[in-house]
Amino acid sequence: MSWAAHELESYFLQKHVKVTISFLAILLGCLSPDLFTKLPAYGIHIGSRTLLKAADAATWQRGWPGAGFTHSLTFGVVIAIIVLGVTRSRAWFLGLLVGQFAHALTDTFDSVGTMLFFPFTTQHYGLGMWAYGAQAGRYADAAAYYSSLGGVWDVVWIVIAISGIAVFKRAYFFDTVVPNDPVWPWVQTRLHAPDRVLVAAYRAFFIYGACRVAAWFGWARLLNPLRGTDVFDPSWDGPRWVARVTAHAATTAIFWANTGRGLALWLISMAAVGWFVVRPLWNRAAPTPPPPSEPALASR
């Protein structure tokens, strides 16, 4: 799994998706697959007791039976449709869709990958750029991730996010982010938050994501008591010292058969869902978010 890419990619996506889209929805979409699946993958440790620990972290988080459906493209469509029906916000529908798709696709870079076309196939798609390590526990996973190309991948996302530095400016926030999302004026009105706090809330996940990379790198390479054996190994599918977990098809023929069936059924289903479910909800939804009711924001 990616440790910081999901926080960082939301800033890149909102800049490059050329439609009215909610940043908060992208962020929530990017976080949604891991929101309720990461904790059981590691287990909750209270003293010497471990609670809620999945017997097989990879199967639980990415597979079926388990919660692997949260990392499928279908899950993104389902949560986006629910939110479109409830909020009637196209910006939130698109944001959740884009964010969740980005998460599902980003996680295809590790050794376990994701079931993109679930429920039509349980075939996993994983490039194996770094080894999935959640089965070894949270800290062993952190040590493995930040000793592999996974950590490098996070650094790439920091560079990509910084390359679009304009998105972090105050003017961008008030001119582009706020008008696309009625949540910001609502938050300001309800919480009486000053402008600088709203801007900080917007920037917070970038700062947290970037600092998280630095802190975990620092811990893995400088403070980890096992750093002598948990060596830095930026090889493909590394590090070699963590137990190998993969979910590859038995043969190439099975892989392509699963992919053909999964992709075809997924496309047909999405076309039907798009026509019969999304289209009426989309037409019913507001074409643009309601204008901010807060004069302080509206005047910018």
Partner: protein, 57 residues
């Protein structure tokens, strides 16, 4: 101290807390709630303190 400088200091403090504190206490700080919360708290609380100190002088 100007408001802009005070905000910059607040962001700097947040970064320092997250990197140094994060490396030491790890998931207690580096999670989806506390991590962004540190940034918001620092920017919410530090600038008024710094500008008020500047006004007192």
């Amino acid at each position: 101290m100007t408001e802009g400088h005070a905000e910059a200091v607040a962001y700097g403090v947040a970064v320092l807390i997250l990197i140094v504190g994060g490396a030491l206490v790890r998931t207690a700080l580096l999670n989806w709630i506390c991590g962004p919360g540190v940034v918001i708290a620092c920017v919410g609380l530090i600038p008024p303190l710094l500008t008020a100190r500047g006004d007192d002088r």
